[in-house]
Amino acid sequence: MAEATDPPRESFRLSQLLYDARYRSMTIQVVAAILIMLLLVELVDNTVTNLAALGKDIRFGFLWSTAGYDINQQLIPFTSQDTHARAAVVGILNTLVVAVLGCILATIIGVLAGVLRLSSNWLVARIMTFYVEAMRNTPLLIWILIVFAVMTEATPQPRDFREGGSASLILWDSVAISNRGVYIPRPIWAEGSMLVVAVFILSVIGIFILRNVARKRQQDTGQILPVFRLSLALFFLPTLLAYFVMGRPVTLEMPELGGFNFAGGIQIRNSFIALWLALSLYTSAFIAEIVRSGILAVSKGQTEAAFALGIQPNRTMQLIILPQALRVIIPPLISQYLNLTKNSSLAIAVGYMDVRSTLGGITINQTGRELEGMLLLGIFYLITSLIISSAMNFYNSSVKLKER
């Protein structure tokens, strides 16, 4: 009589911890946990001992003491009498502004270069290949230094802008590029200008509503509204109307030569321009490659299929190619934004006062709190990059192909 029985249950032996796959992972993790704990304890212990030997402790109170140094680019008012915390915020804003502007410019140049690199025009494609390879294979630091040297060494001095001097303002006498910085007009907000701004914001909101209405209408009835022209009109007309009705409340203050330097207008420092341009140019080369590979990743059959369905070329691009290419393009694009943000810490090379040189530089030097300062600096960068990468993960999961 054959009877199926379970094999006799073996009693647990100690060697199973090592040789039995069921228990081995547990063993490894316990050993790893112990080692990690030991390492952490050792690190903390060393830090405490070393700090005690130096007579230091870990406190963040220094953030609320007077900074005592000036910051040459402030988006919010700051004097040397303000606190270190405020200096850090000024630095953070400076980092963010160069990062955001850099991302915008890098995207514009990068998309242009990427598309042109695929151009059927041999010459244009070669020029763009050269541009991309030159940018990608040379350190960013060199580009920052080169652009900075261009801005400070190869641009005219303010005195050259005098009557009979060799230099002149560009763009209808509104922008001056000099070795002291770039001067642009400053808008002056008179009474009633708020209304103009409000109208502008409302019309931008209107554009979004219009797009939704148009899409819904197309889905319901099949009629296509001329969205682009309507948006264009909505963008300019109401604002211009409000501007003239209110009696032109917004005026521009032009940069003027006064004494040895320009007065009036907004001064954009060369350090900012150098960092911004170099970051944008460098990152745009990477973005160009991403755009190129994204477009190439959409197979030719997709275009042919769209044409076979009788879809026009521009709508093919808009409805068939771009949505598929963007799914390939956007994740690496966002990680390039992340790189650009982190690379903005190279501001140190040109003396731009970003968060690393306020919180992580002068504040540390003045207070001697390197541990706390570097910790806060690291946390700032970490939070920024986690926010950006979670945005990327969100996008990824929303466009992911739904598989089995």
Binding site: A32, A33, E133, N137, I142, A149, S345, T384
Partner: protein
């Protein structure tokens, strides 16, 4: 049967005519230009714009470059020569001509006695021979004068090959060591030299006693042999423990907590014995004398070599089924990637001493190499993870069904495919690492860009920018461009699909 031949035919052509020549617009250069430059109106406009851009850029740069002045002693000298020749603009390449050795090697010491013996025997004899000049007969000032007078009379090329023979030999051997890794057609036995190369390079670059690198290498070999022997007799656990114990005895002092010092670690003891019997070695060079492009190559190469295994390990850890290992790897990768390299470098230079046992301090260069390695390995881990994720699940299942254990399935099935997929990403990370070596200038190492500042700080070359930046940029470009081309070649060679 056939009706064709029943009627006489007036004329039948028996030979084929040669094909008529294509119309002149459809061949050769003209056709190529029509297709690639002026295929449509828009294309033609693009071509003209492109030609204008090229002309604009070249008309600015070419005269400046080609009219460059190669022989001058200072920037003012350059300007005088330029004005004398009646040129509007001219590059002052003389700074490169004068200082290229400094950009390549920083303040790394030259082998002055060798230079003196080889090329200035008479001057050396007049000064009283090598011993008098270099071994204490002359005081420091006199010796510096002698050496600088001697170097002024020696061409830079001779100084490169004989004064800097140590870094140059190390570079040459680096090429020999890397070649079998890059090109599989070379004999595999050359890999043995690749393994030995780090010790050779350390000895050549840092100098000191020859016995230190030799004994460290022998010690590591001994550990592995002991581990293997024990493993074959007592199983894996015994082998690992034995190897670790041997490592402790050779390289560390396991009995230090008992207050027993002197015999252990074995390494310095044995080295002392050898040094007293055969005191062979080279003049020691300390890390703070390293600089220039050599520094970039040293940091870049060590970073690349060390970060690859670490990055693969991190990627595997992140994919691991063990939660603890996975969390640790994820945390490590995200924290390292989330913070710029500059902040890590400052951490290494400002804070590392806080985390180490009191009283220890180690070399800034070593700290930088460690930081750059950790940084690159986090990026590599993400690249390799992408490759691992791209493999179909069937590969993992197939490896399991063959009865391979974890390491064997990784080594034989998964990693070869995953790494092949991630080659472009890996090489991009390496290029990024190599370019990032320029950042060490901010923590006080003399990288090429830092040296351009040092050169500009001298009175002769005050105010010179472009020539130096272009030279340094071209150096980096050459290396990075080679790496990216190599990755394309490798991709081609390893491609197994659709051929």
């Amino acid at each position: 049967m056939s009706t064709q031949n029943t009627h006489p035919v007036a004329y039948v052509r028996r030979e084929m005519l040669d094909p008529a020549a294509p119309p002149p617009g459809q061949t050769g250069v003209i056709r190529w230009m029509r297709e690639n430059l002026v295929s449509s109106w828009f294309n033609a406009i693009l071509t003209f714009v492109a030609l204008y851009v090229i002309w604009y850029v070249l008309s600015g740069i070419l005269p400046w470059t080609l009219n460059g002045i190669w022989n001058a002693t200072s920037l003012n000298d350059c300007r005088a020569i330029r004005d004398a020749r009646g040129l509007e603009s001219a590059a002052c390449w003389a700074v490169i001509n004068e200082r290229w050795l400094q950009i390549l090697f920083g303040f790394y010491p030259t082998d002055d006695p060798l230079l003196a013996r080889l090329f200035h025997g008479e001057a050396l004899a007049a000064a009283g021979g090598v011993d008098t000049v270099f071994n204490g007969g002359l005081n420091a000032t006199q010796r510096i004068e002698f050496v600088s007078a001697m170097k002024n009379q020696t061409s830079n090329g001779l100084i490169l090959f004989f004064g800097y023979w140590r870094p140059m030999l190390a570079l040459l051997l680096l090429v020999v060591a890397v070649a079998p890794v890059l090109y599989s057609s070379l004999p595999r036995s050359m890999l043995l030299f690749s393994l030995a190369y780090p010790f050779v390079a350390f000895f050549l670059l840092w100098g000191g006693s020859v016995w230190l690198p030799v004994l460290v290498a022998l010690g590591l070999v001994a550990c592995i042999l002991i581990g293997r022997t024990l493993a074959s007799r007592f199983g894996m656990l015994g082998g690992t423990l034995g190897g670790l114990l041997a490592f402790l005895l050779i390289f560390m002092n396991p009995l230090s907590f008992l207050g027993i010092t002197g015999v252990f670690p074995l390494l310095p003891t044995v080295q002392g014995v050898f040094d007293s019997i055969l005191p062979w070695g080279l003049a020691a060079v300390s890390s703070d004398q390293f600089g220039g492009f050599m520094l970039a190559i040293i940091i870049g190469t060590s970073g690349i070599v060390l970060s690859l295994p670490l990055g693969i390990a991190l990627a595997l850890g992140r994919q691991s089924s063990m939660p603890l290992i996975q969390w640790v790897c994820v945390a490590f990768i995200e924290v390292i990637r989330g913070v710029p390299l500059i902040v890590w470098l400052f951490t290494a230079s400002l804070l590392l001493n806080y985390f180490l046992p009191p009283g220890t301090s180690f070399d800034l260069l070593l700290r930088v190499i460690i930081m750059v390695t950790l940084f690159a390995s986090a990026y590599l881990a993400e690249v390799v993870r992408g490759g691992l994720a791209a493999l179909p699940n069937g590969q993992y299942e197939a490896a399991n069904s063959l009865g391979l254990d974890y390491w064997k399935s990784m080594r034989l099935i998964i990693l070869p495919q995953a790494l092949k997929i991630s080659i472009p990403g890996i090489v991009n990370t390496f290029i990024g690492l190599f370019k990032d070596t320029t950042l060490v200038v901010f923590i006080g190492l003399r990288d090429p860009l830092g040296l351009t500042n040092a050169i500009r700080a001298t009175s002769e070359w005050n105010g010179i920018y472009w020539e130096l930046y272009i030279f340094v940029g071209l150096l980096f470009f050459t290396f990075c461009f080679f790496m990216s081309r190599y990755s394309m070649y490798l991709e081609q060679r390893l491609r197994t699909d659709h051929r």
